[in-house]
């Protein structure tokens, strides 16, 4: 094992090219004139949707893919995993921490950190391995963003990410998808079939102004 390591490192050191001059740092790319329209375009191009809602009473403003409440008989007709304090998880194995398969989980609701205008992705750090599994095994995914939670581009995004301390984190952009059969787009390849980005914000125009600088 160490033989392999030593051989490889020695070969790399012996054959390396001369160190080049350091490249100039990349200037920040221009911000689109309407960042929120751009974000919406990118999210929709990825097969997702974006809804901007007021922070209060926001749940009523969202077209949820499945009913959030139990039905009239008090039974859970649908199941959901929720990372939001105001919405309780129920059904689909969400109550049983020993179950990992989340069989039949209809909806997963996550709390995103921020969204990236240039590509429509949202940064999310799962609170647990279970949360990550729920995000993959649910039929539908909703990611909720709060407040002034947009960055213009990926460069700005990584300035906000602390990779050093990170166990696992991901950018999510639209539902799971494939075009492996004759380039025909199919949503829900392995994971969620839909993804909705919900932005709770009382001043989207203010965020747009900040991004434009």
């Amino acid at each position: 094992m160490t033989a392999a390591r030593d051989t490889i490192l020695a070969a790399l050191a012996a054959r390396r090219p001369a160190a080049p001059a350091r490249g100039r740092p990349l200037a920040a790319p221009p911000v689109p004139s309407d960042p929120i329209a751009c974000l919406r375009d990118r999210v929709e191009a990825a097969g997702g949707s974006l809804v901007v809602v007021p922070p209060d009473d926001w749940i009523a403003h969202v077209a949820w893919p499945v009913a959030l409440d139990a039905d009239a008989h008090g039974r859970d007709s649908t199941s959901l995993y929720s990372a939001l304090p105001g919405i309780p998880s129920r059904g689909g194995g969400t109550a049983d921490p020993t179950r990992d398969d989340f069989a039949g989980l209809d909806l997963c609701i996550l709390r995103g950190a921020f969204a990236v205008v240039e590509n429509g992705a949202v940064w999310h750090v799962p609170a647990s391995a279970r949360e990550r599994r729920a995000a993959l095994l649910a039929e539908h995914l909703v990611v909720v963003l709060e407040g002034d939670a947009l960055v213009a581009d990926l460069h700005a995004a990584y300035e906000r990410i602390d990779l050093d301390a990170l166990g696992f984190g991901w950018f999510l952009c639209g539902p799971s998808k494939t075009a492996d059969i004759e380039q025909a787009l199919v949503l829900g390849a392995h994971g969620p079939r839909s993804m909705q980005l919900v932005w709770r914000c009382d001043d989207p125009a203010g965020t747009a102004r900040r991004l434009r600088g």
Partner: protein, 481 residues
């Protein structure tokens, strides 16, 4: 004549060739549309190429830094000089734990190492989980494209494959229905898997993290469900720092499929940091093993004419744009990686086996123009031809023909004489015979009529009679002075 004869098999089905060509051009057009929305695209390419140049000059330091950071985060780092060592490491990790069911997401490196057949021989079932890779695995074929493994197949063929292997109803060819069938089958396999094997798109030295991208979510299901994650990483995948990731991630998906970013871009920082973040709730001890694989990469680093190919981020853009690849299909290359980048990398691994690949190229240069990390692919393909010629690896017929041409062109009088003889013969011989002599150029087209006089004669006549002509013609050649 390997590539030519295999390409002949592919183009025998004209309808398929036309479809294949159009499908890949469609992806190329999507790439163009996505790139048009990025005002600083060329600056990004410059930056990416510069980062890769820096990384190639600092590989030992960067990998040591990665090793130390990843180890501190709880990952176990392994080193493998070649495919056999890499396969042995993976096999040992699995057998030590009594693992027999493994899911794998797309990794050209494990394809290159022949990991699947190796594990199968050791009684370990590996299921490829990328839909395209699953399709070709069920057909017992290699992928024909590095991003779209089943791009050579029509939907009806996928249907037939699924009827044979997954119990799909006869005649099923709807992509939604086929994908749903595969999803159901693979979901059960994800849940039953005891380990997940992935590749990696980027290894970050500064933080010891791995970044893996996918659209289907198979990388994530394969690493979120089973407790053991083995990532196989080629030596060229290292980038120095976190700030380099946005440069490559902005280029990668746009170049590959015309998406601004893939559906999933996952960052793995190691099991200890994961556990720390999750507190006591972590149910099982999760493990991350990283296998760093050389397999010829350090040798390529020592070849100045070709080492820039190590900058490749496997986006596949050069395949999609290549007029030869689009019309001959990935399998015609008989290599792990087809297309322009494969034609550079494969001869470096085995020059004798892949000596024909640098000739599967028109030197149009489209690949170099489109490459997000500015690999000079067309120049490298030309350079390979020189290397292969001087190593005597050209087929006998080409060696003789090129030797004859070189001898003739080195003797201007003899060349003029031969040219005159040729023109005369072409006039007196029956056209069918001339066409036959000019094969293979005349297989798909007629030979244009040969001029009555040689270029030399025309040039002399022009010089003696014409006044000085305008400076350049439309094609830009200089006028005689």
């Amino acid at each position: 004549m390997g590539h030519v004869s295999r390409a002949r098999d592919f183009v025998a089905d004209a309808e398929r060739t036309t479809w294949h060509d159009a499908a890949l051009w469609f992806v190329r057009a999507k790439r163009d549309a996505a790139v048009d929305l990025v005002p600083d695209w060329e600056r990004l390419r410059d930056a990416a190429a510069a980062i890769k140049r820096e990384a190639l000059a600092r590989l030992p330091e960067l990998w040591l830094e990665f090793e130390s950071k990843a180890t501190r985060a709880g990952a176990v780092v392994h080193w493998a000089r070649d495919a056999a060592e890499a396969n042995a490491v993976v096999t040992r990790l699995l057998r030590e734990r009594g693992i027999t069911r493994v899911v794998k997401s797309k990794s050209m490196l494990t394809e290159e190492c022949g990991l699947n057949p190796w594990l199968a021989r050791h009684g370990i079932e590996v299921v490829d989980t990328d839909l395209g890779e699953r399709i070709v695995q069920l057909r017992d074929e290699p992928p024909s494209h590095i991003v779209m493994p089943a791009i050579h197949l029509r939907r009806s063929e996928v249907g037939e494959t699924f009827t044979r292997t997954l119990g799909a109803p006869e005649g099923l060819s709807d992509p939604d229905a086929l994908a749903a069938l595969a999803r159901r089958d693979l979901r059960a396999r994800f849940l039953a898997a005891q380990a997940g094997i992935t590749g990696a798109n980027f290894a970050v030295a500064e933080t010891g993290s791995l970044v893996v991208v996918s659209n289907e979510g198979n990388v994530d299901l394969g690493t979120a469900l089973p407790p053991l994650h083995i990532a196989c990483v080629g030596l060229e995948k290292i980038v120095p720092a976190k700030r380099d990731l946005p440069v490559f991630l902005r280029l990668l998906a746009r170049s590959a499929t015309g998406q601004a970013i893939t559906a999933y871009t996952s960052h793995f920082g190691g099991p200890l940091r994961t556990a720390a973040a999750e507190g006591a709730g972590a149910k099982t001890q999760r493990q991350l093993h990283v296998v760093i694989v050389d397999n010829g990469r350090s040798r390529l680093l020592g070849q100045p004419a070709f080492r820039e190919a190590l900058a490749c981020i496997r986006c596949g853009a050069c395949l999609n744009t290549c007029p030869v690849y689009r019309r001959s299909g990935g399998h015609s290359y008989a290599s792990v990686i087809p297309g322009p980048i494969g034609s550079v990398l494969e001869p470096a691994r085995d020059a004798r086996a892949h000596a024909e690949l640098p000739h599967a190229c028109t030197l149009c240069g489209s690949c170099s123009e489109i490459c997000p990390v500015q690999i000079p692919l067309d120049r490298q393909l030309l350079a390979w031809r020189g290397v292969l010629a001087s190593s005597g690896l050209h087929p006998r017929r080409r060696r003789l023909a090129l030797g004859f041409a070189a001898a003739l062109l080195a003797r201007p009088r003899l060349a003029a004489l031969a040219g005159g003889l040729g023109r005369r013969l072409a006039r007196v011989l029956p056209p069918a015979v001339v066409a036959r002599l000019a094969r293979p150029w005349t297989r798909e087209r007629a030979l244009p009529p040969l001029p009555a006089a040689s270029f030399r004669t025309l040039y002399r006549a022009r010089r003696s009679t014409a006044r000085p002509a305008p400076a350049t013609s439309a094609r830009g050649e200089a006028a005689p002075r």
